[in-house]
Amino acid sequence: MEKQELIEKINEVLAEEFEKEVEEITPDADIKSTLELDSLSLVDMVALIESEFGVKIKGTEVAEVKTFGALYDFVYSRMNA
């Protein structure tokens, strides 16, 4: 999957699951505040990325993936590793 296509897909599934507008999701935006995630719904985001893209974000890695840009890079790199 090309990176731009991946980005669009990630935005689409996150917007759908967390009931946000796709336009709210930008590379520099903070994931937790944009999607209004608490410690429980953060689990759902991790599960969603794993089930949709086959990429597991481990507990220690979650803290490093703060923005959507970081998430795109993380998922893209793991998918192409």
Partner: protein
């Protein structure tokens, strides 16, 4: 001095309708909520009969973070509770500024449990169960969800008493109010309807196999009954002290006169006569009324051979040859199990308020014991002001409530 306990609001979501008005009409016309579900047959069920109701879509009503922890029965309970609170004239400001309790009957949450276990087995990764699974799969799921959504701050407890859960919840709530520990409690019962929840129940041959005639399958007290039909949904009643209701100018619908209870101390699935009789006698004794004041008996009768026979014997033991109408609304709804004790209070209330007794559907031929009771097979127009409602459950748990019109 004990407080009087009154009912000031009711709400229901069942196979007979999604609100009080629809359910009242269904009771009046004798509608059956039972269908044949081909999905169950494909799953290997002995009986594919079930009550039919749609899971409400709450997407535009509640936020994702509220919905994600709710299994189907919590959604039914939410709908019933919204209606009951409106009915009682209670808004969120009232709930925010008073200590309102919550006691709800529920005794399973199988579907989210099964789905989470499936996911663990398939993926070997518990994260994939998602955040909702744990909260959806606990027995207390209904009270934990309703307590958070409505921001309730009084007692918050699920009552698991098998098929008497909803009745015990109301009875225990009444005791707390009588003794001044709470002024108002949201009480009720909820029951999931998905196949996972009752597959193992089907497995012990408890269900009717009259699959070619779904609406004739649930036939409490009838000689040719061959088992129960599972149902579900949720029912909520708002109970409060008489003083509280008067103080806030609430519509007072009825008074809970008494709660009787007992345990059979006997077989896990087969009820006896002595245990239920004691529950009935306790309720009548505590109500402090003349037995002749009771104008209607809403029986537990689920359409099983032993259960209906023993309840008929228990009722006859207590009421003798008094000609008081006895019916089981399960002839229309199937057995609403954890919900039944609460929903049947509402069904009886709707009949009491509207001056009729719904037909005991499919009561075509009595057996030796049901012949001793007055069981109308057609709806009758009758004014009554006091009724008694029985609920019995696995393990021999019994609950009886007596309610008077106000």
């Amino acid at each position: 001095m004990q407080n009087r306990v009154v009912i000031t609001g009711m709400g229901i979501y069942s196979c007979l309708g999604k609100n009080l008005e629809e359910v009242r009409d269904s009771l009046y016309t004798g509608k059956s909520g039972i269908i044949f579900d081909p999905v169950r047959k494909e799953m290997g069920f002995r009986s594919a009969l079930t009550a039919k109701l749609d899971v409400p879509d709450l997407k535009k009503v509640l936020s994702r973070s509220q919905r994600v922890y709710m299994p189907e029965q919590a959604k039914y309970a939410y709908c019933a509770t919204v209606e009951a609170l409106q009915n009682a004239g209670i808004d969120q400001d009232y709930l925010n500024s008073h200590e309102v309790g919550l006691l709800y009957g529920n005794d399973s949450s199988a579907e989210p449990t099964v789905l989470a276990v499936d996911k663990m087995r398939e993926k070997k990764d518990t994260t994939l169960c998602g955040s909702g699974a744990i909260f959806q799969s606990m027995n207390s799921t209904v009270t934990m969800n309703l307590g958070c959504i409505f921001k309730l701050r009084g007692i918050n407890l699920t009552v698991s008493g098998a098929c008497a859960s909803g009745s015990h919840a109301i009875g225990l709530g009444a005791l707390l109010i009588q003794n001044g520990l709470q002024e108002m409690i949201v009480c009720g019962g909820a029951q999931e309807v998905n196949p996972f929840s009752i597959g193992s129940f089907d497995g012990i041959s408890a269900f009717s196999i009259r699959e070619d005639e779904p609406t004739r399958a649930s036939r409490p007290f009838d000689r040719d009954r061959d088992g129960l039909v599972p149902g579900g949904g949720a029912a909520t009643v708002i109970i409060e002290s008489y003083e509280s209701a008067v103080r806030r100018g609430a519509p007072i619908l009825a008074e809970i006169l008494s709660y009787g209870f007992s345990s059979n101390g006997d077989h896990i699935s087969s009820p006896n006569v002595e245990g239920p009789s004691r529950s009935l006698e306790m309720a009548i004794r505590r109500a402090g009324i003349d037995i002749n004041e009771i104008g209607y008996i809403n029986a537990h009768a689920t359409s099983t051979h032993v259960g209906d026979t023993n309840e008929a014997k228990a009722i006859y033991n207590v009421f003798g040859d008094r000609r008081i109408e006895v019916t089981s609304t399960k002839s229309q709804t199937g057995h609403e199990m954890w919900m039944a004790g609460a929903s049947e209070i509402i069904y009886s209330m709707l009949m009491m308020k509207n001056g009729f007794i719904a037909a005991n559907l499919n009561f075509e031929n009595p057996d030796e014991d049901s012949a001793k009771l007055l069981i109308p097979d057609k709806r009758i127009e009758k004014h009554f002001d006091t009724f008694l409602s029985n609920s019995f459950g696995f393990g021999g748990t019994n609950s009886t409530l007596i309610v008077r019109n106000l």
